[in-house]
């Protein structure tokens, strides 16, 4: 397929869609599927069948408001979610009523208003197709301008131009570290090695984070397109997606997307009839959190135990099988095609001076609107929790918001006005992380939260370096003692000392950041620890 074929396919697909006046979109992402979206879709198909083909029922990706699933949107073709009639908690028994309402008054009892801040306050770049297109259809992705960035790059731009565009956009790694993506790309591009690799890190291990899963399930082609553009820019001809085995649906959709892209000649030996070759293979994780660390991830792709090694050398110099390797996260790759399509200046105009673009967050815990949102960088935490998230249910008060999972920390209620960007969160002792946000209300016990994360790090420690292997064990023991009300002032002092040692001396990010939840809760909620000590403080 070349650029003309692609444009033709997009036109054809749009024309075809325009002949059907109404579209019934059923969310087919994992969360809604667990609430029964599959039988619902069948029921809707049956209810809408016959007649004069006035509406088409299709499965789409995540619409965001996971706690209200299964979600169904009735729209006109190509319409965005905010313009749709959205229904929540829909059951197969409601199908007939919904089918009958199409073209006339909506079914009010099932309606979920789309004028809510949850919907209108979002700015969707990464999720622009989520909940709109059928993730299993390459044609629908193409109709939404899919693969046009890849063909533009291959036809009009040199690899250097592409790296330059990404650098100018100010995109930073969305996996949590925030390393400038353009800089990483240019390091790999500069290497003279004839064999290079592109790796997509889809080992979303932070508990409470499901952004990457939603992207993979809702718009898998976007990730493939981003990877292929990266391959062209850095001079790699082979890509791997390392994805958690816990996400079977995401794996399925990726596999089918790769098959379709190969069939259409958008991946393979001659991408879009050019001399550029690029292939993508999926590698399955097997349940090890540490494999999210890039050197451990590479060890796992090579078929070994997922144990990290010291850096430097960084993967950009010495990666898979000793060759330069570009590793980016799912969301980072998902931003690439829009940047190429709309230009780096457009992207750089969104967000804050040092954190550009948008960020996808997974809201969970004590919050009314549990689900997935995408907002510009720099939106305040208060805005996200109270306005977009709908606040805390049951009239309770926010106590803290945990970001960054087991490597992050808590932002206490008095600091909720912090703008969410890499640097502001760092100054509060937490991190952006991959995007999990767990809201805790006044009933949460912060010592227990710290113990929970330490237990996590302790079991997930790979055992290679002593500070992490032994340190997390000891810190967990101390936290457990304090949480049970049997700890002394000496235990607390020892805990703080250990935090420092483990942070400073561990081999990889897992150990270096394992003390963060403790340090952060100690910083803002020290009195809770002290109240639990034997004999008070």
């Amino acid at each position: 397929m070349n650029a003309d074929d692609l444009a033709e396919m997009a036109r054809h697909c749009r024309d075809e869609a325009a002949t059907v006046p109404h579209e019934v979109r059923v969310c087919m992402a994992a969360s809604c599927q667990s609430s029964g979206a599959l039988p619902l879709k069948e029921a809707l198909k049956e209810a809408c069948a016959g007649g004069d083909r006035a509406c088409a029922v299709k499965g789409v990706g995540c619409m965001g408001l996971c706690s209200a699933g299964p979600l169904v949107a009735v729209t006109q073709p190509g319409q965005q979610l905010t313009d749709a009639v959205l229904y929540r908690d829909v059951q197969p028994a409601d199908a007939a009523e919904i089918a009958a309402s199409i073209g006339s008054a909506p079914v009010e009892r099932l309606r979920c208003p789309t004028g809510l801040p949850f919907f209108v306050r979002q700015q969707r770049i990464v999720l622009e197709n989520s909940g709109v297109i059928d993730p299993e259809s390459l044609r629908e992705y193409v109709a939404a301008d899919g693969y046009s960035a890849l063909l533009k790059v291959l036809g009009e731009m040199s690899p250097g131009d592409v790296v330059q565009q990404i650098t100018a956009s100010g995109l930073r790694g969305r996996g949590g570290g925030g390393y400038p993506t353009g800089l990483k790309w240019s390091t790999v591009a500069k290497s003279q090695d004839t064999q290079k690799y592109v790796v997509c890190n889809a080992d979303e291990g932070d508990p409470g984070a499901f952004m990457d899963r939603a992207v993979l399930e809702s718009d898998p082609h976007r990730v493939l397109e981003g990877m292929a553009i990266a391959g062209y820019a850095v001079g790699a001809n082979k890509g791997y997606i390392y994805v958690r085995a816990e996400y079977p649906l995401a794996v399925d959709r990726l596999e089918s997307a790769i098959r379709q892209a190969k069939r259409e000649g958008l991946l393979g030996a001659r991408v879009a009839e050019t001399t550029f070759a690029f292939d993508i293979e999926i590698r399955l994780g097997a349940g090890a959190f540490v494999c999210g660390e890039e050197t451990a991830l590479m060890a796992s792709i090579e078929g070994g135990r997922g144990q990290p090694r010291p850096r430097p050398p960084y993967p950009a110099e010495l990666g898979l099988w000793g060759h330069p390797t570009l590793i980016n996260n799912v969301e980072t790759f998902a931003n690439v095609a829009p940047i190429i399509r709309k230009g780096s200046a457009w992207f750089a105009g969104i967000g804050t001076p040092r954190s550009k673009g948008t960020k996808v967050f997974a809201l969970a815990g004590s919050i009314a609107n549990t689900g997935l949102i995408e907002v510009p960088m720099g939106t305040t935490l208060r805005d996200i929790i109270e306005t977009i998230g709908g606040g805390i249910p049951g009239g309770k008060a926010v106590k803290a918001v945990q970001t960054g999972g087991p490597s992050g920390g808590c932002v206490p209620a008095p600091h909720l006005d912090v703008p969410v960007d890499y640097d502001s969160l760092n100054s509060l002792g937490t991190i952006m992380g991959s995007g999990g946000m767990i809201v805790m209300d006044e009933t949460s016990d912060m010592v227990d939260v710290a113990r929970f994360f330490m237990e996590f790090c302790m079991t997930e420690s790979c055992g290679k370096c002593v500070p992490c292997r032994a340190g997390t064990q000891q810190m967990h023991g101390l936290l457990d003692r304090i949480a049970r009300g049997e700890g002394s002032g000496r235990d607390l002092a020892l805990l703080e000392e250990l935090c420092e040692v483990v942070q400073a001396t561990s081999l990889c990010g897992l150990g270096q950041t394992a003390p963060n939840p403790v340090l952060s809760t100690l910083r803002f909620f020290r009195d809770e620890y002290e109240r639990k000590l034997v004999g008070g403080r």
Binding site: A30, S31, Q33, S34, S35, C66, S67, G69, E204, G205, D206, P207, G208, A209, F210, R213, A245, E246, Y247, R283, L284, G285, A286, G287, A288, F289, S300, I301, E302, G303, G304, R305, G306, Q307, A362, A364, G365, S366, T370, G371, Q402, G405, G436, I438, M440, S444, F452, F453, F456, E460, C462
Partner: protein, 164 residues
């Protein structure tokens, strides 16, 4: 002289080995396809036993120590057979906050099974997962591959009780 590759004998003539052999063949018997191969064995047989590990090691020309090392490193690989049903309680942050430990307690007490263990009659295994990514439905439990959201001890025990 060209190297003659001798494929090791299968541990048994069970038809499921075909699936495993297919995985290895698709990956050109590459050593780095070890994890894929182990996934395939576990998918076919439910767990990894010693004869299976030996067979994979010999087929991919890897030392058994390496295969054993990988099989024991990753949480998803099981070296013992599971029960006929699996109840996996998610213990991710969101589920933890919304009461996953209460769910675990309930199943442990009601079915007399420890976390990570299997009931004496081999009917049910109780497992935990780090995060199944269904945080919007917390607390979530995966019973025989189906994700059940917003569980309470009573609703979960009901589901577990219904299993044949």
């Amino acid at each position: 002289m060209p190297e003659v590759l001798v494929r090791p004998a299968q541990p048994s003539d069970d038809k499921r080995w075909k699936l495993v052999n297919g995985t290895m063949r698709r990956n050109g018997y590459a050593r780095h396809a070890l994890i894929e191969t182990l996934h395939s064995v576990q998918g076919a047989f439910g767990y990894l036993d010693v004869p299976a590990l030996r067979y994979v090691a010999a087929s991919l020309d890897l030392p058994l120590s390496k295969v054993y090392g990988v099989a024991t490193f990753y949480h998803l690989f099981m070296l013992e057979p599971k029960g006929r049903h699996a109840c996996v309680v998610c213990t991710g942050t969101a589920c933890y906050i919304k009461g996953a430990s209460g769910l675990l307690d309930a199943v442990q007490r009601h079915c007399d099974v420890a976390t990570g263990g299997t009931t004496e009659d081999g009917r049910l295994s109780l497992l935990t997962a780090r995060c199944v990514g269904a945080c919007g439905l917390a607390p979530a439990v995966v019973v025989d591959g189906n994700v059940l959201g917003k569980q309470t001890p009573a609703s979960l025990l009901g589901k577990v009780g219904e299993l044949p």
